[in-house]
């Protein structure tokens, strides 16, 4: 089996997961558990596709996807931050709504082809110098621009969260919003901003599927990837750099069954499909056993914050 071509494909398969995971990491770092990721990805997928079809401009297509995702994030934020609704139930409701809206809007788009300007924008483009490194260059630096965007986003987010003041404030908001409030941080604002950004990233993940990976709009084009992203956040212990490699790992699992079949190894794709979830459960148990505080979920994840709590 050609390992390089497999790994290269794993990176591509993992990219939508990466964007959704990064988006969910931002949201959860702010203390909000958004189970509406699947719905948000679908909205991004259809919004990006629509924008792409109408403008044939790759930048506007991506912008459309991000805007769609952010809009959905805004609904979630309004309900859980301002109206303090239960986060789990709100997220689930949004997945229902997102699935519905995207199917509805996407009805007329079945069978349409991505416009050429966009297609050519996202063809494989080798990175000079880096792409010449044996093995690593072939796997990571002979990809399309969307994939490279993924690398950059993950690295930027890592630096943002762990090396900047804003990231520090964000972490405080998710761990102890009462302390953040007392320090003068506007808790609601931080939650809103990061939930919206998170939604935008999830939207981008969906758009990658409809504009580059498939590429086409189909009903349920995400096929549960939004849920895998929720798992990935845990697997990567809320760390964007870990998310980078974890996403590609899960991406590899996604396409493994198909590849193995070609080599007469009949492992059911469905059994392989279980692996990401089983791996995540393993990580969940491990972190709860070892109790290393830095690997735990943000302390106040899932809880609404209200200042005048008596």
């Amino acid at each position: 089996m050609n390992v390089i071509s497999f790994l290269n494909a794993a990176v591509q398969a993992g990219t939508p997961l990466l964007f959704a995971t990064l988006g969910e990491i931002l949201t959860e770092k702010a203390g909000n558990l958004n189970l509406g990721a699947e719905g948000t990805m679908l909205i991004g997928a259809v919004a990006g596709f629509l924008a792409g079809m109408s403008t044939a401009n790759p930048f506007l297509a991506i912008l459309g996807a991000a805007a769609g995702g952010a809009f959905f994030g805004a609904i979630y934020a309004f309900l859980t931050v301002t109206l303090k609704a239960n986060q789990v139930v709100t997220g689930l409701s949004l997945t229902i709504l997102g699935t519905g809206i995207s199917s509805f809007v996407g009805k007329g788009l079945n069978g349409m082809v991505v416009p050429d300007p966009i297609k050519s924008f996202f063809t494989i483009k080798k990175v000079p110098l880096l792409g010449d490194i044996p093995f690593i260059g072939d796997v990571f630096f002979k990809q399309n621009l969307f994939v490279y965007l993924g690398y950059i986003t993950a690295i930027i987010l890592f630096i943002y969260i762990y090396k900047t003041r804003f990231g520090l404030n964000l972490r405080m908001v998710g761990e102890n919003p009462s302390a953040a409030d007392a320090s003068g941080i506007n808790v609601d604002l931080y939650k809103y901003v990061h939930i919206l950004l998170g939604g935008a990233l999830s939207g981008l993940g969906g758009a990658y599927l409809s504009l580059v990976y498939v590429p086409a709009w189909q009903e349920n084009v995400t096929a549960g990837r939004g849920w895998i992203a929720v798992a990935l956040v845990i697997f990567a212990t809320w760390n964007p750099l870990k998310a980078l490699f974890s996403s590609y790992f899960f991406g590899g699992l996604d396409i493994l069954g198909f590849r193995l079949q070609k080599y007469d190894m009949h492992v059911s794709q469905y059994m392989i499909d279980m692996l990401p979830y089983a791996a995540t459960i393993f990580v969940l148990i491990m972190i709860s056993m070892r109790k290393k505080k830095e690997y735990m979920p943000p302390k106040e994840l899932g809880n609404a914050y209200f200042r005048e709590e008596r």
Binding site: R171, G184, K293
Partner: protein, 508 residues
């Protein structure tokens, strides 16, 4: 008037139907330590939460340096130079000290880690507040966390510092240290407001005192012009007998024998180190010590709620070490436990009084179903006997006031007719009247021959009420003394670990 830093005029704040602050006037000057004294529920915390931006007043005005201001959030307060240090620290465990300090501050986008550590180290040394800027909060001691909180506030340029019950978690010696720091800050021109209910500390460290009662100011006096008795009267509203009477009872047989008890906590620290003591029938044994000396774990261990690594707990000739509460009940042992954490351990806040009394009676009922009728009668009896103020026995317990919650808990445990009562901080948060009622109830039990283990924080009460006092420090029993022959400062020293040889004349 150039001296006034803070002026609060006609501040009123209402929660639901309760007026927490009624028309309050307060001034605090530069270079002054001003204590806000009052019972629990008098409105001290509410007032200070208004000043620090957590609550907003329903009416009234606030002036900082003679400028009228509107404090709508903690951020506004910080910008005005007001810094509050809460009783329950507002720190993030997994972040380091310096990260906790700079969070929420304006500055460069990228955090210069090394420079920051140096800056903070400098400031901490200058102010006499020892901390390690790179240590994670979950590795810090309580006193260190408090210093961090103070440093946090100073770093933001606070000129007005508000401390909420700062000595609750400190040994007498650490309290000394804190007061020295505060006095130094006062000398440098800061205004420091201390929220407290401890009369002796007020007299020791304040320049002026404002007394609150039932949400209103009943007096503002200079320290020189008053004394503890007068302040107590102001706090309560009438002349009160500050003393608690010890009931002399003839000591009989041993009810509880604890021998060489050892236990380890989650971080593998020996939280109970070779504890041995006895409690006799009709005796009240007090337990003194700074918070975190192992008292909580000791109570939990005896009640079967904390894992013990070695040693014995013998209750009326039965060794109950290693047994959980369910086993203990099955063994027929009658033990009452009034834990420190009332709503978090002793009661179910969302349930009513009947269902809370049920907590200790339901296991005795036969069958799968719960019979509430008989327990309902019992609940009515408790409410009547202890004069509990509640709309009915079907009212959720968490909606009762602190004193009444404690009465429900105590009433239930006493109603079990136990042979031993373990009680931790039973009068915490209660007004003086209710506190005395609690002491009387305990004395009543004592007279009936019940053995009582009394963990308390008020040394005066412990010394006046108990037959013997066991002083704990860092998980060990330092000494067991006769309070009639000891002084408070002796016990204070023991709480910090000094043994009898170093403390003269305290033999039991």
């Amino acid at each position: 008037m150039g001296n006034t830093l803070v002026r609060m005029e006609n501040i009123t704040k209402v929660f639901g139907s309760v007026a927490a602050n009624k028309d309050i006037n307060l001034t605090v000057n530069k270079g002054e330590i001003h204590s806000i004294l009052g019972e629990n529920g008098a409105g001290k915390s509410t007032l200070m939460n208004i000043l620090s931006g957590v609550y907003s007043p329903d009416s009234g005005s606030i002036f900082i340096k003679d400028n009228k201001v509107s404090i709508n959030s903690p951020k506004d307060a910080i910008n005005l130079g007001i810094g509050m240090i809460y009783q329950h620290f507002k720190l993030v465990d997994i972040l380091t000290a310096k990260e906790n300090i700079i969070a929420g501050q304006k500055g460069k986008v990228f955090i210069n880690s090394k420079k920051l550590s140096e800056e903070i180290k400098e400031l901490s040394v200058k102010m006499g507040l020892e901390i390690d800027p790179d240590r994670k909060v979950y590795n810090m001691s309580v006193a260190e966390k408090q210093r961090l909180e103070i440093l946090k506030v100073l770093y933001r340029g606070a000129e007005v510092l508000i401390l909420d019950e700062p000595t609750a978690v400190l040994t007498p010696q650490e309290t000394e240290k804190l007061f020295n720091i505060i006095k130094k800050m006062r000398d440098e021109g800061s205004a420091i407001i201390i929220i407290t209910h401890k009369l002796n500390e007020v007299m020791e460290v304040s320049d002026r005192v404002t007394v609150l009662r039932n949400g209103e100011v009943v007096g503002t006096v200079k320290k020189e012009d008053t004394n503890e008795r007068e302040l107590a009267n102001l706090m309560v509203g009438h002349a009160i007998d500050l003393s608690v009477k010890r009931l002399e009872v003839e000591k009989k047989s041993k009810t509880l024998c604890v021998k060489n008890l050892c236990a380890f906590n989650k971080e593998n620290i020996k939280i109970l180190n070779n504890i041995s003591f006895d409690v006799h029938q009709g005796e009240m044994l007090g337990v003194a010590g700074v918070a975190g000396s192992g008292q909580k774990e000791l109570c939990d261990a005896i009640a079967g709620l904390y894992p013990v690594s070695s040693g014995e707990i013998v209750f009326q000739n039965k060794n109950i070490v290693g047994k959980n509460p369910g086993d203990i009940i099955k063994m027929g042992i009658s033990m009452g436990f009034v834990p420190e954490d009332r709503l978090g351990m002793g009661l179910v806040g969302s349930m009513d009084i009947v269902d809370n009394v049920l907590l200790k009676y339901y296991k005795k009922q036969k069958g799968l179903m719960i019979k509430r009728k008989a327990v309902g009668v019992k609940a009515e009896n408790i409410v009547e006997k202890l004069n509990i103020s509640t709309p009915s026995v079907h009212h959720p317990v968490k909606k009762l006031s602190g004193g009444n919650i404690q009465k429900v808990l105590l009433g239930r445990e006493i109603g079990l007719n136990p042979k031993l009562i373990i009680t931790a901080y039973p009068a915490r948060g209660l007004d003086i009247g209710s506190a005395h009622m609690v002491y009387n109830l305990l004395n009543e039990q004592k007279a009936k021959g019940v053995a009582i283990l009394f963990v308390g924080e008020d040394l005066d009460v412990l010394m006046q009420l108990c037959d013997r006092v066991m002083v704990m420090c860092e998980g060990k029993v330092v000494e067991i003394v006769d309070p009639r022959k000891c002084s408070k400062s002796d016990i204070g020293l023991m709480m910090a670990g000094e043994t009898l040889e170093k403390v003269a004349g305290c033999d039991d």
